[in-house]
């Protein structure tokens, strides 16, 4: 289980070799950011279960895989992937194995017009928007102590870029579609969303696989909300059941902004999602919901940190896990209330359903409070379906199995119903239904 530093540093060196194919950027700060990240990787090591943050998630298997990223653009045609498309998401950026696919992506309507919305791939826009990007890119997603974020940043080249200008509301959801098509490759997806003051946008970050197979996704997303901005962020991870998915998302909220997040984890052999939300302005609000629905030998690990830095912040969190087979779900939800963040109102709930005798859960809702005039509560439950609820449905003529499926479905649906995009909601409801009926 414990690995020597020597072998993991060899692993990290090998991973970084793929960087040699990256073109240098014309921007000095961009190159410096990458160089900093490379240097940082050299100082860090791959975490083991002896590290508190990775105590329940053993990723030693990952260090045996030294996959390199793809650099060539895919020639995949729309017909092969359009079943992943969502209605009415007419704005879509598609990445195949981490590489931008312009032939599948849609142009942003009115990008040349007066609204100035930017929804494009990062490398195409980085020079034109350098001054807007510099204070955000690589500044929110901390890579000092996170080796995976550092690796992603070391490979920083392309990605999804969304800039919503002041007082503009993007009226259709933006679909960021990351499709895995090849086995034994690594991809380093990157998203940057800048919501300027008073703007509003809904973004769907969607990870899908065209076929089963082992591959590694190491994704980083950064979301910056200026005063009064609103972002609805839906994240769906439906990677291949053999894949590894490690992701980091950093969100920064300015005064009176509102961030709503719904993350769904269905795929991957081992997945880890770090979500860090900083309420850095007064009166900021966030809702952070999550659902992990896993079976067989899957492991889904969600670590969230909601950091109340300024007063009058509100946060709500509901995280659910449905665990079947010999799967293992991990949840660590930290709520931090910093000195001076008075009148914070925070509530967190971790609810877990174990469907099989071999499934297991490690949950840790965590509160760290440094201000006295606050309202903070958290709760956690672990159990199986309530026998009285099952009995009630049976007394109405449902079979035991139908009753159980219905209750399991309802347990998961509570999260899915919060997704504002009807087509995606429908897709996910179907997935949950299929998964529950499989038993």
């Amino acid at each position: 289980m414990s690995m020597s530093v020597a072998t993991t540093s060899g692993y990290l060196e090998n991973l970084l070799q793929g960087r040699s194919q990256l073109p240098a950027s014309p921007l000095a700060w961009f190159n410096r950011l990458r160089a900093d990240a490379v240097e940082r990787v050299g100082m860090l090591r791959v975490p083991t279960t002896r590290d508190e943050e990775w105590r329940f998630t053993d990723i030693s298997l990952l260090t045996t895989l030294q996959f390199q990223p793809v650099h060539t653009t895919s020639h995949l045609q729309a017909a092969e992937v359009e079943h992943f498309y969502l209605e009415p998401a007419t704005i879509r950026l598609v990445f195949i194995d981490g590489v931008y696919a312009p032939q599948l992506s849609t142009q942003v309507p009115g990008v040349a017009g007066d609204s100035d919305i930017v929804i494009t791939n990062l490398s195409a826009a980085v020079s034109a928007h350098a001054t807007t990007l510099e204070p955000h890119l690589g500044r929110h997603a901390e890579f000092r102590n996170n080796v995976f974020t550092a690796i992603n940043t070391a490979f920083l080249h392309d990605g999804a870029l969304i800039i919503v200008p002041r007082n503009v509301a993007v009226d259709v959801p933006v679909h960021l579609l990351f499709i895995a098509t090849q086995k034994e490759v690594a991809s380093y997806p990157r998203c940057l969303l800048i919501a300027e003051s008073g703007s509003a946008v809904t973004v769907i970050e969607d990870y899908v696989a065209l076929q089963q197979g082992v591959y590694v996704t190491n994704a980083v997303a950064e979301i910056a909300l200026a005063d009064n901005a609103r972002v609805n962020h839906i994240r769906v991870q439906r990677d291949s059941g053999q894949a590894f998915h490690i992701a980091d998302c950093a969100v920064s909220l300015a005064q009176a902004s509102r961030y709503q997040s719904t993350s769904i984890a269905l795929g991957a052999r081992i997945s880890r999602y770090n979500l860090n939300v900083q309420l850095a302005g007064e009166g900021a609000e966030c809702t952070v919901d999550g659902l992990a629905l896993i079976a067989e030998r899957q492991l889904a690990d969600t670590h969230t940190c909601i950091d109340h830095i300024k007063p009058h912040g509100t946060s709500r969190q509901l995280h659910k896990c449905i665990v079947d087979g010999a799967a293992h779900a991990v949840f660590n939800g930290k709520i931090m209330v910093r000195p001076g963040a008075q009148l914070t109102d925070s509530a967190q709930s971790s609810r877990n359903l174990l469907l099989s005798g071999r499934a297991h859960i490690d949950t840790k809702p965590q509160l760290e409070i440094f201000a006295d005039d606050v309202k903070c509560a958290h709760g956690a439950t672990v159990g199986q379906l309530d026998s009285e609820e099952v009995f009630y449905l049976k007394s109405r003529g449902l079979s035991e199995m139908t009753a159980r499926n219905l209750l399991t479905y309802a347990f998961g649906a509570e999260i899915i119903e919060r997704i504002p995009v009807a087509s995606l909601k429908h897709q996910l409801e179907q997935t949950v239904l299929e998964q529950t009926q499989r038993n």
Partner: protein, 478 residues
């Protein structure tokens, strides 16, 4: 409002004085010779010396834990004296022969031994620094077959029992401080309740640290055989000193089939002054093994003292249908730090556990609850309910909650709840409306907040605890 609160909080430590008794103190430092010296002084059998040396060897390879949410300067283990005993004048036949200075100390602490023993029917095994000085009611207990006394005495009188159970609940290499304790423990209590016996009175011990710069390393072992039951009280105060004193005790409880052990603690050791200078480092390992079916282990603690508290009274629920309970009130003020909680390890079928933890932090203090509920794959039908509430008084303190929940059996039900609150202006206003002043109102609110725990305490402790909280927090709210 805060002025009254300040007053409440800033009450000086009432038990700060040093008793001048000639002490037999070992030179500072720790090595194999120190351990041999302790063992020789206590005239111990060979197996116990081996136990100590094995622990010492293991301790040398271990590192101080870094994970607790507390900060303190590095402890120099070589600067501590590991043995200190009041010089015995002669064998004591009765209470009258006890050093009058010592008796006066207890009186100052509010524990008039005769009175307390007589009125409350409590047998007190007095530990003064490290050696048991006097034991009352021994005779009465002996009649029903209960063995209650110091552990060093038990090593001679009942070596088989000590040998059979010592280190079975907290193994020699359990953690850094427990291992250190295994190597250098000087004294502590031993209690054995034989089959079917319900202990006729509450057993009590009174810990006190006296000699400056001498760490105290108690070892307590309580065994309740089939169907036995006992309630054990431990109360602590310590005099005022400016150098930090290390206290690393180990408490082991063993409950066999249908046995019931209730262990209550009121801890009010010197917490350091208002600037965080001095105070006791309280690094304690307490664990109970509910070994038999239907056995029950219950921990109740009121932690108000110590500069640093690092303590997790735990239950290993091995027997089917066994029950574990943990009721705790932890109060921190000034620069105190507490990282305390419990572990409930469910192994047997239908095991049940309850955790009720109330943390109150004031001043610049830091109060953490850290708990673990683990349901093993074998623990079918296990049930846990945990509740952790924190109250913050003032904006310079902090409260943290770290509950680990690990479930490996799908027929188990685990529930955890936590909340944070403060004493609200509206609550105080409500009291004021009814003619109740701030100070009294605060005391009532705090007592209400802690009620669930105080109810679990034996009567005389409940009274003491209520008072203790009152003067601990005097002036903190207003």
């Amino acid at each position: 409002m805060s002025a009254v609160l300040q007053n409440l909080v800033n009450q000086p430590y009432k038990h700060g004085f040093v008793t001048e008794i000639e002490s037999d103190v070992a030179p500072k430092g720790l090595n194999e010779d120190t351990i041999r010296m302790i063992s020789a002084k206590k005239n111990e059998p060979e197996w116990l010396l081996e136990f100590r040396l094995k622990a010492y060897q293991q301790w040398l390879t271990m590192e101080e834990p870094q994970w607790p949410n507390v900060k303190y300067p590095k402890i120099d283990f070589q600067a501590i004296s590991y043995y200190s005993a009041p010089k015995p004048r002669k064998k004591l036949g009765s209470m009258d022969e006890v050093d009058p200075e010592l008796l006066r100390t207890f009186e100052k602490l509010g524990v008039p031994m005769h009175e307390r023993a007589a009125l409350a029917g409590v047998a007190v095994d007095v530990i003064f620094d490290s050696v048991s000085v006097a034991t009352t009611y021994k005779q009465k207990l002996a009649e029903v077959g209960i063995i209650f006394g110091s552990i060093s005495e038990a090593v001679h009188t009942h070596p088989d029992l000590v040998k059979q159970y010592l280190g079975t609940v907290v193994p020699v290499g359990d953690n850094y401080y427990a291992t250190l304790n295994s190597a250098v423990f000087t004294d502590g209590s031993f209690c054995f309740i034989p089959k079917g016996v319900k202990c006729p009175m509450d057993l009590s011990t009174y810990f006190r640290i006296n000699t400056e710069a001498s760490g105290q390393f108690e070892r307590t072992l309580i065994i309740a055989e089939e169907g036995a039951s006992v309630s054990y009280l431990e109360g602590c105060t310590a005099p005022r000193f400016d150098t930090n004193q290390l206290h690393a005790a180990v408490v082991e409880l063993v409950a066999l089939d249908n046995a019931d052990i209730k262990y209550s603690t009121v801890q009010n050791w010197y917490a350091g002054d208002e600037n965080g200078i001095g105070g006791i480092f309280n690094f304690v390992t307490k664990r109970g093994l509910a070994k038999g079916i239907n056995s029950r282990i219950s921990w109740t603690q009121v932690e108000t003292g110590s500069a640093i508290t690092w303590k997790y009274p735990s239950c290993v629920l091995q027997g089917d249908n066994s029950v574990g309970e943990f009721y705790s009130v932890a109060v921190t003020n000034n620069h105190q730090q507490a990282d305390t909680g419990t572990k409930m390890i469910h192994i047997g079928k239908n095991t049940r556990s309850t955790i009720v933890s109330k943390g109150i932090s004031a001043g610049h203090s830091n109060n953490s609850y850290r708990g673990l509920v683990r349901i093993a794959p074998t623990a079918a039908g296990a049930r846990n309910y945990s509740q952790c509430d924190s109250m913050l008084i003032g904006d310079q303190c902090s409260a943290s909650t770290f509950p680990y929940i690990q479930v490996r059996n799908n027929s188990a039900i685990v529930e955890h709840e936590a909340s944070t609150s403060k004493i609200g202006e509206d609550q105080l206003f409500y009291f004021a409306q009814r003619g109740i002043g701030n100070e009294e109102a605060v005391s009532m609110i705090i007592n209400g907040f802690c009620k669930d725990v105080f109810q679990q305490l034996p009567m005389e402790f409940a009274v003491e605890a209520t008072k203790l909280l009152g003067f601990k927090l005097e002036g903190s709210v207003g």
